[in-house]
């Protein structure tokens, strides 16, 4: 039989000769009726895919949701306070993008979408146009027929990776949805008198403190409210970020996102951590990051 490599090479030749393609060149379409056993695209990594597969799920497609949003006029900002126009724009745009992702998931018969990534891009440097993209891989239990009652009306979305999703299932939890909280806050500029009073001292800028504190709490309470609405037990993988986008230094978006989870009825604690030595390192896959680190260290010295 020969080595694994020899078997792989010879069976590969059979496959390729069968379809008569030159490697890398797109094959001409075979006709419209060719979707009997269509191939499935996924952006899961090999690790994620194999683990999702292990947990009894199969990928059913790389799914997208896109919302290009026009952000309305903001007017003159004074004082500490939330910028409602921006808060609602950023939340609605993200909800639109994830909503479309969910709609696509329903269309392909997925019960959920894992590894959801949200990205925002400003279009052409214009501050009033932003593109929100949600990308993830739809999954469904293996062997489940499409369009039966086993498919939930609203597939869950989760920002967790395939690995984390598998771990979550093993721990006896199920994701119920993506929850978000958004708050865009304007932080008051210092008046000339305050500036004169404080510029030579080391003191707390209490106006800033209260503004940033309030804004972050607002974002988190909104996330909490969303989780409550989903009847979740908890929220895992919660991240908070502070983004200034294109608004300069005094307008800040606080964005909290996480995955709401609920426990399975027959849950037991049976996660046992194990030690692993990975044969992969990131030298090749992300040369930029390594380089950047070196540079930073050098600067610090």
């Amino acid at each position: 039989m020969g080595s694994i490599a020899a078997q792989l090479v010879s069976s590969h030749e059979d496959v390729v000769d069968h379809t008569k393609t030159s490697a890398g060149a797109p094959v001409p379409p075979t006709g419209s009726g060719g979707d009997v056993e269509a191939s499935v695209t996924t952006d899961l990594s090999v690790d994620e895919w194999l683990l999702v597969d292990d947990s009894g799920y199969e990928p059913c497609g790389l799914l997208f949701g896109v919302a290009v949003f026009h952000i309305g006029l903001v007017g003159v900002l004074t004082g500490n306070g939330e910028v409602d126009t921006l808060s609602s724009a950023l939340l609605r745009a993200r909800e639109l993008a994830t909503g479309k992702l969910q709609a696509e998931a329903r269309r392909v018969g997925a019960t959920g979408v894992v590894g959801v990534r949200l990205s925002i891009d400003q279009l052409g440097g214009k501050s009033h146009l932003a593109r929100f993209m949600a990308i993830g891989t739809g999954i469904r239990p293996k062997g489940a027929a499409v369009g039966t009652e086993s498919q939930p009306a609203t597939p869950f979305l989760t920002a967790l990776s395939g690995q984390e999703f598998a771990l979550l299932l093993r721990g006896g939890f199920l994701p119920v949805g993506l929850v978000m909280g958004v708050c865009v806050y304007h932080v008051r500029r210092l008046g000339p008198l305050t500036w004169l009073r404080t510029y030579s001292q080391s003191i707390e800028m209490s106006a800033y403190t209260s503004a940033l504190y309030a804004a972050r709490e607002l974002a988190m309470v909104r996330l909490q409210a969303e989780a409550l609405g989903l009847q979740a037990e908890g929220v895992v993988g919660m991240t908070t970020s502070e983004l200034s986008h294109v608004w300069g230094s005094h307008v800040i978006e606080f964005f909290a996102m996480g995955t709401a989870i609920t426990s399975l009825p027959d849950r037991q604690d049976l996660l046992d951590p194990t030690f692993v030595l990975s044969a992969r390192d990131n030298v090749v896959s992300d040369p930029g990051a390594i380089l950047g680190d070196d540079e930073r260290t050098r600067d610090d010295k």
Binding site: I4, G24, P29, L167, R280
Partner: protein, 331 residues
């Protein structure tokens, strides 16, 4: 340019005298050296090297393919082509055209439909399938991969792993033609003692991932880039919403981008090789081009590798190819 003849001269003087079409003289020389036993190179990490040898492959050398191209926007209505001068780094000779817009759109189109694969679809001035611009991008990508495969074949490789795909935009030239370089680079691998093949397998997955796949009954088949260009003339609704002072979705923009992503995905899926196979994709690269508030163009590229079922009777070593769950994973 006087480069052309000298190139063929140099290529024919490479050790095996084999002309590699589209590969520059230095590349042919490098491949020639590799053929005659020069030290191999590999982009795979040291640990990954071990997993590669465990399934019976050894590195054969780094191979690449690169295409430098420019194309004029539709407005210019000019025929354009990739330069054939080696000095500017071009190794493709195809003639290319800018994107094609056929009709003006009177208003906003809600009803999207996609025809059978490969059929141009035109609907009230919207054309989002098989535009010439899309054909050009697809051709460039497949040419680059062809060059890489050609290099791999020349050094007797049976496969290429860890293909990295990148485009470098050189911006626009004086009359608005977009200029970019597309390159692919990967590590060719060889199964010692096995006859050379016509079609080496290609994948963007790293050696470790390939070993894991093999351990779980899958094998890499081929690397593709799913490509789509969707271009639309702005409708009246879009113009209105761009002028608006309120929050609101620019639906046409959203849909153009979404369509483009979907078409790129279908481009990957329609290269159907074996039924029920799985395509492992990298993150889609989306590039948007707005010109003068009259058109909106979304270019999507999704690098991906197809894998197939593969049952083997060999024994892998005691190394454990378990998918790794890290408890400290960053979300």
């Amino acid at each position: 340019m006087t480069d052309e003849p000298s190139v063929s001269e140099q290529e024919s003087s490479s050790p095996r005298g084999r002309r590699l079409q589209g590969v520059p003289p230095a590349g042919s020389r490098r491949i020639g050296d590799l053929q005659s036993g020069a030290p191999w190179s590999s982009q795979q990490a040291v640990g990954a090297e071990a997993t590669l040898r465990d399934i019976g492959f050894e590195p054969a050398g780094v191979v690449m393919g690169s295409v430098y191209s420019y194309g004029y926007p539709y407005r210019a209505r000019l025929r354009s082509g990739t330069s054939s001068s080696y000095g500017s780094g071009s190794y493709a000779n195809s003639t290319l055209d800018g994107p094609m817009l056929t009709k003006r759109s009177g208003g906003y189109v809600h009803d999207w439909s996609i025809g059978p694969a490969g059929q141009p679809v035109m609907d009230m001035g919207w054309t989002w399938e098989e535009t010439r611009s899309q054909q050009r991008h697809r051709r460039i990508a497949s040419e680059a991969v062809d060059h890489l495969v050609q290099e791999a074949r020349a050094i007797g490789a049976h496969g290429v792993v860890g293909i990295q795909f990148g485009t470098t935009s050189m911006g626009k030239d004086g009359i608005g033609a977009d200029v970019y370089e597309l390159s692919v680079m990967g590590t060719a691998v060889r199964a010692p003692g096995v006859e050379p093949v016509k079609h080496p397998f290609t994948t963007h997955l790293a050696a470790t991932d390939v070993a894991k796949l093999v351990a779980h009954g899958y094998a890499p088949v081929s690397f593709h880039v799913g490509i789509s260009v969707v271009c639309a003339q702005l409708g009246a609704t879009t113009r209105r919403s761009l002028r608006s002072m309120d929050n609101g979705e620019v639906e046409q923009y959203s849909e153009v981008t979404e369509k483009s992503l979907q078409i790129a995905r279908r481009d990957l899926e329609r290269t159907s090789l074996s039924a029920g196979s799985v395509i492992l994709a990298a993150t889609p690269l989306v590039h948007v081009n707005r010109s003068m508030n009259t058109t909106y163009e979304a270019t999507v590229r999704i690098p991906a590798s197809r894998v197939r079922r593969f049952e083997h009777s060999g024994v892998q070593s005691g190394l454990h190819y378990q998918p790794i769950v890290r408890l400290n994973e960053q979300p």
